[in-house]
Subunit: 663 residues, 3 copies
């Protein structure tokens, strides 16, 4: 694979072979370089337990190869065939209420089912054996969107697997009883055999049981992935392997998953009806790039226009799909793939837009497909280039899961919503950020932002302390460092092992009711409003400086924002107004935006490769703007026009530019 | 049966026989002419498997006959007795989640249950054998409100029946696989035995499976009906048969059902708290009249005042029940029946109003019962008369079901809401309309209105083309002609087989988000707002005239409303503002209102019989109004006063008049 | 027990024994006098079927006794251990949909389970045998919050028990068929064996079946309580027994429950985020005092600050917990206990505030714990004193259950919301009220308020008549006296057996739709708005005086409020505006507030004991106020300062005073 990938999922089983030749001809016309095949082909490839039909797929790979299109070949294990389900009904997943979900959709399997796992492994092996050496094969695509519909199963097989997982984790039932705090509410277990999944219960279920269930459920799906990966690695060691992620997805700990991928790929569906969709998309793309520490990733699925699964599915207006695709490139993608190549005429996704729409080559959609394919070809040199950031944002799935357990001071404290304000503040300033895994190397970052870290392990506390000790700037949001890995409150209360570092103690959580807010005074002039969350906070040391105070209500006069040395604590939820706290930190840490003087709404990133640096300018606003690009003398790659770095560049509404500069 | 029927359901099992004599005396006082008996009498008639008790019912029929009251005798099969359910628990219906619904309410049976069907048939036979020749018997009333609570059952018996139905429809599993598009998402079936009902699944279920399930479920209940009908026809061939419909009811294809009825009857419960209830009621009554192409129908159930099953049950204010009853007559009913005669003092419907309320003869309710009975007697000659319409509205249950499947461009596209605007526009102008079954004769109509026809079969496309070719005016709403009978998108996209006729192609669906709207410019002066739906529309021919364009947003300047010859296409949802499009069509087609110059809020219809024409004037407004009635010299039947056709008629608030004129 | 109790639940199983000594030391520091032990100790006390471990509990009781802390010892039966559930999975409760609820929370048992009942009885016996004579033992605490999570179970065991209960109630199946009105909808039962619990059914379930199910479910839990009570009474006859109630709790008929308690205790959790929480709390406390006709009760659980089970859990601001605790005293409590002593660090309630918070003795919480303990010690003499009221409010669980059955004129008629307006009107005026059980002695009351009595038995009608006949003033709200104990509408309609007494007949219910209101004219000047409910009301006698009329809509000019002699009828819902009706009644009846001239927001009550009277003044307002206390010369007990009865007393925001006066 070289240059930027362009293509999408193709489900040719839906049409007679006679249509395939036209498809491939049109792919060439559009500049398609890679096609994903076989995502939902299990029933076609294996019509019965010992019945295999590969001829049609042979012909497809040959055909694509003959036309110079590489193949991302799926193992097709996300949708087991009817005969397998009817022969082994225990494969079907079960809800927390005990409902066994029926065949007729997709992902109808229990992740812990030995029968499913064996059948999936057998299919993967057959495919790998047959195509490992095919010249069209460029990438393995395991399964599809793990956890899209079924992230957990409560059946008896899952219960057995959960107990196995718990035995491995805890060793003894006493260790589990301690970790789960079963002394409370008389939940003590005598043996592992007494444990079941956290099915619907009379009242709130043990929180640590729920937390372990989240961990187990992510792991159970990962076991499925690993089993297939092992087969592919064995039979085709040279071919990279991916599975398509679903952006920042709570059920799966993608840090752990990405460790076992050769290439990170993502399915991203920002909503054209959401005026802030591009900010959330930037966040997700930053995560994808961060998952393997900056290595280019692949946008495996996006929609050319509308999707079909929202209540109201608004299409992308002309120019929007181009802009949003370039955004993925700007944030580290090396390819842009779509769901799907040719629009289905039947089934659940027939109203999902496609590169080749129902109208065929007559409509707007096809014109944009062809036009963008040509543009992309001009950006080939960007492939492989990387970007860097001075700011890291901590992301820990374990803490996310724990944060959103039941019976907390406020159910409104949701990771994605807490994160959004911090991220948007940085995005608005065009400050590049990476997501950072707890415990990973952070010596390259000047500032580490921790919007929330409800669950904090002792070793991560030490790691944060080391970061600060070595000159880093830490900014930590409220309701952090509350519990340990067992969801036990740290001794002496929050922020537990960070009390020393931050120089504060939380006396009590003061969640803010819906529709209300609390003013926070930051210096003489500036008052911002906190929603959702506030804290009764006490400084612990003389070195603790109070930067902001609550300005009304029961907490009036108490500290809201503090710093001790280069460790900041923001006890309340400020949304995007957190910029009032962040800006001076960035200033002090010497963090600068990508480019100064960029108009509002213009997203700016830089990727650097061996042949130069690439400045991306993306105008998300509703007007045309002039963007000064001082120092960026070179060429604008989309147009091929030279850029002198002195005159500003004009970007129309939804306009974009990619400038190759010397540095 | 002659004259207009007046009466209601009577459940005398609830009281000692000693009360019956008073009931019958009061029926005479009120002018009651027909009583429905036995709707919920199964447990009383058959206390055990081989235990029958008909004596009490014998006495009731004799008593009613002796007092000149005819009987609408029910087969009583809607509520199987406890002993049957406990002896055969598999009779109980099962939800999509697998919950087997319990005895204790009504309609607790699986429509596909052989045990239920056999028991229902046996009961119907016993009743028919006993009463076929009873002189009181005027009408058979099969079952009660098929599908009111249970429109579908997901049990194993239903699964077997569904597979049988599918085998009949498709013949081979390959045909089914093609129709359902099972190549997508690997849903291919090897045999019919692998198919189950569309129970709750991990994600969206195959849409064609869901569509066939709708068809099957309507048919399964119809099978129940047909089995009883066959028994009654065999034993009492001269007695007409009905089952009470529930207005325009999605789960049952009443076109097919009405084919097998001798008389259409309806249960109608417009909500007094809804200021537009009468417009919706008019719509439902027009359907009932249309179901057998204009033959008089029977309002089998309405509430004298409040119902008891809404969250808040507002009564009918004085005069409202009279006005609304006359409305049913105005739209073709030949009788007005009520639920129920004497108010229950126990059970789930004790707060449902009755002709004889809890207060007995002391209260307002009884006074209105008696007064209206007397009025109705004066309108007897109206019975049997008919009305005609120049405008037909297409209604196709198959398309309705398909329209509202999941994973569409917008979940907000619901048939009843789309229809409402078109219907109201015509109602406001007092334009008579019929509902039209696809494929039926339409030579009598000048204009055919198609608010939506998402699913369009090839033969219906040809039928529409013929209508236009023969001089008809066709007005077709958006998101029409999208799929074929298998829910496959028509080749080349919408409006598929109507592209030629309408002269347009839809490039992309542009649903409008909730709370937003898009302006549509119709000529120089007129701008209306489209909500819910818009389309990227392209004219295909020079003959396509653009009558309206989108005036903002991504579609600005694109066509919104077009015509080609006498075929109009309205690509957006205009609600009642669609009148701006319809008015010129009606003008051009020569369609006139019933009466010119009628004040707003006055509903006007005409029925014609051998003895003259009957003009109905119904004042739904809140003020008294003067209605000019040019040409209507004759008599006002409610008062008996002469009308000279020159002076306007004064109608008080909620007032009504029925003028017999010569023509 | 003497003086006022102070303490809380302690779950020491959660910590190593080494911590216990510190706990007990801190209890002394805080002035704790009683501790509840063993509420969730079953799994610890009985680790296996024949395995008992009491040593740790022995040590705890000894330790507490040594430190002068009394013990409220729980039987611990609310949370059966895992081994019991796994050995007898049929213990687990089942929902109306058939979902068997899983272990992992608490209250995971079917109240009708013989296995559960036997195991609970065995545990209670073991505990009683061991500790009956322990000198620390002051109170038995059976179970915990009966019905908190599981108020009903739909399993087969429950069905058997329900049938047994029905046989006892009705004797014959004919009697049941009559009571349930099974003649309607063909629900007739041939034998009791055909009856099942009211599980989810196709449509509305028989209302009397649902009503009996409510009665049975309250009784089934009460059977559990009685079985344990019998064991404790047998083995420790001198030790009083309680179970902790949950304020005015619909599922359990606390009148019947309190009959079987030696001491009423309550768990009360008013929401600090609700500005009217203290009014609702006053209502609940009045009920607790009334349950045993004025005997002091025990606030068994309250939160020192925030709870953890609301969506957003706002803490109590400084001073609020003191004020609200004194409120319980003011309304008859003889002790203030908390959940819980030491904050849990794990489990579902770790964010529930505690007397000893996570921060330990460092924080605000502990300071308030200690400060209030010292204050409480100064109020010891209040213990045992009582209060009296001239006004009674009728409360009947049977009627409450029936009122809120389905298929009523309006689902918005909820007892707690109807009651709220009447209660608040009296609270605002500082009029003391008791709750009154139907049929109980009422000779001490001048006014009896009946916000709603939908279900009225004949004997209670007679009892109300007698009250009025003997000079009492009765004020009865709408939708009362509608049905008898079988939920059958009284003959002739409402208000059935009260028609004579009230002098009115209801012709029809006119519920008011959401968001609408109806003006009611009360005399020349005063118009108030009725929401939710109105009635078409007719005076029956000349003696019926119309005090208010509807002033718009269909009911314009009809009576809304009437009186006949000293029996008032208020046919509409006026919320707190009902004071316009109540005030003249109180005036006429000679009912006076506790103290005249008290500023708004200051709650005032009096308790009287052998040593004097105690005037409580509680300032719920947001400002400091001066309260005149004419005649209350004595001492303010919290400060020890003398009060001369002439100068007003100043109360700061959230301030309180307790004046001991001579009378």
């Amino acid at each position: 694979m070289h240059g930027l990938l362009y293509g999408g999922d193709w489900n040719p089983e839906q049409w007679p072979e006679s249509v395939w030749a036209e498809d491939v001809r049109l792919m060439r016309e559009a500049g398609v370089t890679m096609i994903t095949l076989g995502v939902f082909s299990w029933a076609r490839l294996q019509p019965g337990p010992d019945d295999w039909d590969f001829g049609w797929l042979d012909r497809l790979l040959d055909l694509l190869h003959a036309h110079g299109v590489a193949v991302d070949l799926a193992t097709g294990t996300a949708s087991p065939p009817a005969w397998l389900v009817r022969g082994h009904p225990e494969i079907l997943p079960v809800t927390a209420d005990g409902v066994r979900l029926e065949f007729g959709s997709r992902q109808h399997y229990c992740p812990s089912s030995p029968v499913y796992r064996a059948a999936a492994g057998r299919l993967a092996r057959k495919i790998a054996e047959r195509y490992a050496a095919h010249p069209a094969l460029a990438l393995w695509h395991i399964h599809n969107e793990y956890g899209d519909h079924v992230t957990e199963c409560f059946c008896a097989e899952s219960a057995t697997d959960f107990r196995r997982w718990l035995r491995t984790r805890y060793g003894t039932i006493d260790a589990l009883n301690h970790a789960w705090g079963t002394a409370f509410w008389a939940q003590r277990y005598g043996t592992f055999d007494e444990i079941e999944p956290p099915r619907t219960a009379p009242g709130p279920v043990n929180p640590t049981q729920n937390l372990d269930w989240r961990r187990f459920s992510s792991d159970a799906l990962r076991e499925c992935y690993r089993a297939e990966k092992a087969v592919l690695d064995e039979l085709a060691p040279a071919v990279p392997v991916t599975t398509n992620f679903m952006s920042m997805f709570k059920p799966l700990d993608y840090w752990a998953w990405a460790d076992e991928e050769d290439l990170v790929s993502d399915d991203a569906y920002p909503d054209p009806a959401d005026p802030r969709a591009h900010v959330n998309a930037a966040l997700d793309y930053d995560l994808m790039r961060s998952l393997k520490r900056g290595r280019p990733w692949l946008l495996m699925e996006q929609a050319p226009s509308a999707v079909s699964w929202r209540p109201v599915n608004v299409p992308k207006r002309p120019g929007l799909q181009r802009l949003w695709s370039l955004q993925a490139l700007a944030r580290g993608a090396d390819g842009l793939m779509y769901f799907q190549w040719r629009a289905s005429v039947a089934g659940a996704e027939k109203y999902h837009s496609a590169l080749l729409p129902h109208r065929g080559t007559a409509g707007r959609g096809w014109r944009e497909t062809v036009r963008f394919g040509a543009e992309l070809a001009r950006l080939g040199e960007v492939a492989g280039s990387r970007s860097r950031a001075d700011v890291g944002i901590l992301l820990d799935w374990d803490s996310w899961w724990a944060l959103e357990l039941d019976d907390h001071p406020s159910t409104r404290m949701r990771w994605r919503e807490l994160l959004a304000g911090w991220y948007a503040a940085l995005w608005e300033r065009n400050i590049p950020v990476d997501f950072v895994r707890p415990g990973s190397p952070v010596d390259g970052y000047r500032v580490l932002v921790v919007p929330n870290l409800y669950l904090l392990r002792a070793e991560h506390a030490a790691w944060l302390g080391k970061f600060v000790a070595e000159g880093g700037h830490l900014v930590c949001g409220g309701f952090s460092a509350v519990v340990d890995e067992n969801d036990h409150v740290h001794e002496g209360g929050a922020p537990g092992p960070l009390r020393e570092l931050l120089g504060v103690a939380v006396d009590e959580w003061w969640p803010v009711p819906d529709g209300q807010s609390v003013p926070v005074r930051l210096g003489e002039e500036r008052v911002v409003e906190a929603t959702v969350w506030s804290e009764w906070l006490e400084p612990l040391t003389d070195g603790t400086e109070v930067l902001g105070t609550y300005d009304a209500g029961a907490l009036r006069g108490l500290p809201a924002v503090t710093r001790k040395g280069s460790a900041w604590y923001v006890s309340c939820h400020l949304g995007e107004e957190v910029s009032s706290v962040l800006d001076p930190v960035l200033e002090e840490a010497g963090v600068r935006p990508v480019l100064p003087g960029v108009p509002d709404g213009v997203e700016t990133t830089v990727r650097r490769g061996p042949d130069g640096a690439y400045l991306f300018l993306l105008n998300h606003g509703e007007n045309s703007v002039d963007v000064p690009v001082p120092g960026w003398a070179g060429a604008e790659l989309l147009t091929g026009e030279p850029v002198d770095g002195e005159r500003p560049l004009r970007l129309p509404e939804l306009g974009a530019a990619v400038i190759r500069g010397p540095r």
